[in-house]
């Protein structure tokens, strides 16, 4: 598949809609002609370019290494950290299995056991499965896309350091016997009446990590949409990138409901606002809804990346392109959508009406179809090729054997009546481990064996890999197969011990033995991973695979790619002969770093037409400081130390502002840059062509989802409880609410108008408008807070939810004001000019979302209760 005949773009070329607002757009010839792609390259020039590129992309030396932000470094740290957390969480499971090996055991106390199972689940989900996917994607995605780096390297680094701090905090609580013990699902009221710090550690520590997860998801989505090489239209993307896109979007929409839930939960725990207290109008089931709206997509967030790994290994094993690429893409997207409509199947025993049970049973079963399509696509590909039994394929095959068993028990528990027996029993423990081990751990290890030569240019051991596989596979089945029976014989989950005469003892002993066999298998794998492996190999593509990543020469060449290729096929290394050699010689785009800056090419979202050369950020300490202070802002409230928390939050914001001001949207020395092959690209763009704009847009979609979840809570109370709002309740002050809405509308208007005014050159007028916007925003936030000030949020859930919505809006307004102030300062100090106005675009975009938030909030706080 190739683009149309080469044409000159820029001059006399009708600008695409998205580019209409740009001052500078791409000029020259695109796509490149055949002659251009075969023209000889001057070796001396190429060597000079190479020197410059290496100098720009090298990691900082010595201890400054830890300030690196390259995807290759951050991705590596990230995945090793997630793996370490997995090992710790696995050890917790081993202790639990020892405790359960015999009846009436007292190896560990009930409380410790409860902490352990809570942390085992929480850590496997939040510290291993999701971060591991993000880590590996950060590590691999730029290579799949022939990009030099992710679009926001410092954001990845910030996410990593946040993850590390949060993970150590949450996991470390176990050492002080203060770990959360409420289960990974934290159901209130059990966790709201708990007086210890455990639930706070869980809520705040994991919220912190969720924020980091969302940051990484934003990064990955923007990377997939905007950082593809020229020519790699969206239907030519490697399947891995498709899965990154789908999973990133799922994280974006799944985590926010949980964050909204955490927000309400922590307000109840810290300030006694009764969101989940039935005696004051609250409802414990609201948490269950918010938790599982997150929790079920979470399962697919974990599972789909592994399918993505399988989708890269299977074609390499079959030595042919995937059969049914379109089918797979559609099913991945379909799974993503469906997964948001199933959450109620975790609540089949809560006494829902039969009609809900039927609907959610059917919806849950429907997931079989897209999952089946993906699995059959693999089978079809294997049948259509000549299968080479490579080691990674062995792990994938084991994964499919285990996963299909887990999927089939999933079909069973998705039927509400059967679930009434199986729910919360060891049957479900078996089911979920079959899906997660088969759908995550096995493909992950297969993926490590597959991608290791890409990361380290060495092979892992074939022999150790097979030993590890058989130990893990056999151990897994010894451990978890009997649990199906244990559960149906009545053993509930989360019991620290059990009596000896109910018929569970033999089964439990078998499971414990199996758990240790798994541990042996994982230990062999871990040894194989870290043991020294001799010298680097020459062959870059040991599996003879077709995607761009195998053109890389990491680890000694940090630049990612020597030059960014022009791609016309799904498997360029198979279908575009000579592409690797030409990339190496610097014969494609952006082969040089004349200005000494880290750069990569930004292309259009669908067709991957080159749009822009973006200057990505380099090594920095400020990201680490920002993560550190963000951690303080989340961790101090655990102990009710609010003043240090506020100071930390302010410092975190200061670090982020410093980082943005000094390294993003810098005014270029030259508005255009020659990127080779007769193409000149702008070095500064604003609005929808800029990755920063996409970053804000995508972040705000997630933010809106959290806000929608809050509003869902409001209407949940209204629908489920006849006494909401209570008949004689005081309402918010209508006048203040109306004033607030007006102020927000005016603040938005002033900010929106400032953008074209600034572009037209009337900088002073723009400054006046931005200043007015700030004042109006402060007034709007103050007015909405004043409207609820007379209500007592601890008295009933109705005033409490009004307060929560007002606080949410006000906190977002603070961000909006900071952004307005940033633009204002930018116009004064030369960071923002009429021609270079990306920050204003991003601020206006934020304010669009803030206006929606404010108008919905004011309507729900002031208007709706009066109409009810």
């Amino acid at each position: 598949m190739t683009d149309a005949t080469p044409s000159r773009i820029g001059e006399g070329y009708r600008r695409a809609d998205l580019e209409k607002h740009e001052v500078h757009v791409a000029e020259g010839i695109y796509p490149p002609t055949e002659e251009m792609l075969t023209a000889p390259i001057d070796p001396e020039l190429a060597d000079a370019q190479k020197e410059r590129l290496l100098a720009v992309w090298n990691d900082p030396p010595g201890w400054r290494y830890w300030s690196a932000v390259n995807n290759s470094e951050v991705g590596l740290w990230y995945s090793l950290t997630a793996f370490a957390f997995m090992l710790i969480a696995g050890c917790l499971a081993l202790v639990m299995r020892l405790q359960l090996a015999i009846p009436d055991n007292d190896l560990i106390s009930a409380d410790r056991f409860n902490q352990f199972f809570t942390m085992h689940g929480s850590a496997m989900m939040f510290l291993f499965a999701v971060p591991m996917f993000e880590a590996i994607s950060i590590l691999l995605l730029p290579a799949f896309l022939g990009a030099r780096d992710m679009p926001f390297p410092r954001l990845s680094a910030y996410g990593y350091w946040s993850f590390l701090i949060g993970g150590i905090f949450v996991m470390g609580s176990l050492l002080f016997d203060a770990g959360p013990a409420g289960g990974w699902f934290m159901y209130p009221p059990l966790t709201t009446i708990d007086q210890g710090v455990g639930p706070d550690i869980w809520l705040l520590g994991l919220s912190f990590i969720e924020v980091a997860s969302i940051a990484a998801a934003v990064e990955l989505i923007v990377g997939t949409i905007k950082c593809r090489p020229p020519g790699m239209r969206i239907n030519l993307m490697p399947l891995y990138a498709w899965y990154v896109l789908v999973v990133g979007a799922m994280i974006l929409f799944a985590f926010p409901p949980l964050i909204a839930g955490d927000f309400l939960f922590e307000l109840q725990r810290s300030f006694d606002w009764p969101f989940f207290d039935p005696e004051r109008g609250g409802d414990p089931l609201l948490w269950q809804h918010l938790f599982w709206i997150f929790g079920h997509p979470e399962v697919y967030i974990i599972f789909l990346p592994s399918i993505a790994v399988a989708a890269m290994v299977v074609p390499a094993a079959a030595q042919r392109p995937m059969v049914g690429y379109n089918w797979i893409v559609l099913s991945a997207v379909g799974t993503g959508f469906l997964s948001f409509g199933l959450w109620v199947h975790h609540m089949f025993t809560t006494g829902l009406p039969s009609i809900s049970l039927g609907f959610f049973s059917a919806a849950s079963e429907a997931v079989v179809i897209p999952t089946g399509v993906q699995l059959f696509a693999f089978v079809a590909t294997l049948l259509a090729g000549r299968v080479k039994m490579i080691l990674p394929m062995l792990w994938i095959a084991g994964a499919l054997a285990i996963f299909t068993a887990g999927g089939l028990t999933g079909v069973m528990v998705a039927l509400a009546p059967f679930d009434w027996q199986a729910h919360d029993s060891y049957f479900v423990v078996a089911h979920l481990h079959y899906t997660l081990f088969g759908g995550m751990v096995f493909p992950l290890i297969g993926g490590v064996y597959f991608f290791y030569p890409f990361i380290r240019k060495q092979m892992m051991s074939e022999r150790l890999g097979r030993i590890s596989f058989w130990l893990t596979f056999v151990g897994f089945n010894i451990c978890f197969l009997p649990m199906h029976l244990t559960g149906l014989k009545g053993m509930p989950r989360r019991v620290y011990t059990y009596p000896g005469d109910v018929g569970w003892d033999t089964l439990n002993m078998i499971s414990t033995v199996g758990a240790f066999v798994i541990a042996a298998g994982i230990a062999v794998f871990a040894w194989d991973l870290v043991r020294p492996k001799g010298k680097l190999m020459e062959d870059r593509n040991p599996w003879n695979e077709g995607s761009l990543m195998w053109s890389h020469r990491i680890p000694d060449h940090y630049w990612g790619v020597r030059s960014i290729p022009y791609v016309t096929s799904r498997n360029p290394l198979w279908d575009q002969p000579g592409i690797v050699e030409r990339m190496d010689q610097g014969g494609y785009y952006l082969p040089d770093a004349q200005e000494g800056l880290r750069e990569t090419i930004i292309t259009s979202a669908i067709d991957a037409r080159p749009q822009h050369v973006t200057r990505v950020t380099g090594p920095a300490w400020c990201t680490m400081w920002a993560a550190f202070f963000t951690g303080g802002a989340f961790i101090f409230p655990t102990f009710h130390w609010y003043p240090p928390a506020v100071i930390s939050a302010v410092l975190a914001v200061a670090c982020v502002i410093y980082w943005l001001w000094t390294s993003t949207a810098r005014i270029p020395e030259n508005p255009m840059k020659d990127v080779n092959l007769g193409l000149r690209l702008p070095t500064y763009v604003s609005g929808p062509s800029a990755p920063g704009w996409w970053g804000v847009f995508i972040t705000m979609l997630g933010d809106m989802t959290a806000f929608a979840s809050l509003i869902f809570g409001y209407f949940f109370y209204w629908t489920v409880h006849p006494n909401f709002p209570p008949p004689l309740a005081d309402h918010a002050n209508g006048a203040w609410v109306a004033l607030s809405a007006l102020c927000y509308a005016a603040a938005w208007g002033a900010t929106r108008v400032a953008r074209p005014i600034n572009r037209s050159g009337a900088v002073v007028m723009a400054q006046v408008l931005l200043s007015a916007g700030i004042v109006l925003a402060i007034a709007g936030a103050a007015a909405i807070m004043l409207s609820v000030a007379a209500l007592d949020p601890t008295s009933h859930v109705y005033p409490a939810i009004l307060w929560a919505i007002a606080v949410w809006t006000a906190v977002h307004t603070i961000v909006g004001i900071i952004m307005q102030g940033y633009c204002l300062a930018g116009t004064i100090f030369g960071k923002v000019m009429p021609e270079y106005d990306a920050p204003i675009w991003n601020t206006v975009l934020f304010w669009h979302f803030l206006l929606i938030t404010a108008l919905v909030s004011t309507a729900v706080v002031g208007l709706v209760p009066r109409m009810m």
Partner: protein, 351 residues
């Protein structure tokens, strides 16, 4: 008079009763022949969903055996195909054939199978939720025990008990499920599936035992520190026996006639136990802990953590938390051991 030497030795924690394995898995004859004899023996147990003694549990067990048989067949087909692709190394199929395989295996086949499965699986819901035919039992989940109140048809006052539920055979009983502080779940696998008990809500379910027997049930929703020790005993009695049982249960306590028992009664009242516990026919009227009117005739103590024996009762009174971490009842280890034993004798005698 008992002396301190008679105090219980470190007690032996075990199930209230060593329950005899019940014979009779006749209903399983209808199940697919795939279910081998050995597996069936392994399924037997006092708390087993695969060894049902109630109409609802029977339906669900049958559903399970159909599901598992289908799952095994599908698993073998799917993985067999994969195995064939590697080991047999057949002549490569064309991509077009491959796409037909995806369409057939990924879309057509599951759609047909799932449609059948859903119609069968969901069709059992209405029966499982049918209204009761007379008796209503209100069960409240507490940390960590079950409060039980029987409402026979037409009753204006309930009959209270705890940690033990008795149902008539051949009759559908209605269950009203509530919770005090935190969420629990009522699960009696031998008779029916589980339903959650949620503070602020009232859930209902119903069940119909088909044979007399003694079963074990347990809280299935994690409810805090001693979640593992929140079990109950269920008895199913023929209707006439059940009526007699209920009549006995409604009667006030019959205190033991012995000297020690009388001393125990005095101690029980003197130390304020009646502030939390009710013993009908005495001044003890508390409503915080379990009703103890007929505690001596119950089949377990402390929600399945202990037996109803003098040593176990004494151990419990001495230090409940040592037996059940986090238990709400305070320890009485400051009392004279003789007094504790006397109280245990008194309680054990409340038949």
């Amino acid at each position: 008079m008992l002396s301190a030497q008679d105090l219980p030795q470190p007690f032996d924690r075990k199930l209230a009763h060593a329950l005899p394995l019940r014979p009779g898995t006749d209903h399983l004859k209808a199940a697919p022949a795939l279910a081998a004899f050995g597996f069936l023996t392994a399924c037997v147990g006092p708390q087993s969903a695969l060894d049902p003694a109630g109409r609802d549990a029977e339906t669900l067990a049958d559903l399970f055996f159909w599901l598992v048989a289908g799952a095994v067949v599908l698993w073998v087909l799917m993985n067999g195909l994969m195995f064939y692709a590697w080991r047999a190394k057949p002549r490569p199929i064309s991509p077009k054939t491959g796409r037909w395989l995806i369409f057939g295996g990924g879309i057509v086949f599951p759609t047909v199978v799932l449609a059948g499965l859903l119609s069968y699986g969901l069709s059992v819901i209405p029966d499982q939720r049918a209204p009761g035919e007379g008796l209503r039992v209100e069960i409240t989940g507490e940390q960590w025990w079950f409060r039980v109140a029987y409402w026979p048809e037409g009753a204006t006052e309930p009959i209270h008990s705890a940690n033990e539920v008795v149902f008539p055979v051949g009759q559908r009983s209605e269950l009203t499920l509530k919770a005090d502080q935190v969420i629990h779940s009522f699960w009696l696998p031998s008779l029916a599936g589980k339903t959650d008990m949620i503070p602020g809500r009232v859930n209902r379910m119903s069940l119909e035992p088909t044979e007399p027997g003694e079963f074990r049930g347990q809280c299935a929703e994690y409810c805090g520190e001693s979640h593992a020790w929140m079990a109950f005993t269920a008895l199913t009695l023929m209707p006439e026996e059940f009526d007699a049982f209920l009549q006995d249960l409604a009667a006030p306590a019959v205190p033991p006639d012995t000297e020690v028992g009388q001393a125990g009664r005095t101690a029980f009242m003197a130390h304020g136990c009646g502030g939390c516990h009710t013993i009908r026919g005495t001044p003890a009227r508390g409503n915080v802990g379990p009703d103890l009117t007929h505690v001596g005739s119950r089949l377990n103590l402390a929600a399945g953590a202990l037996d109803v024996t003098v040593p176990d009762l004494a151990a419990w009174i001495t230090d409940p938390k040592a037996i059940k971490a986090g238990a709400k009842m305070p320890a009485y280890d400051h009392l004279d051991p003789d007094e504790i034993v006397a109280m245990a004798v008194y309680l054990e005698g409340l038949k």
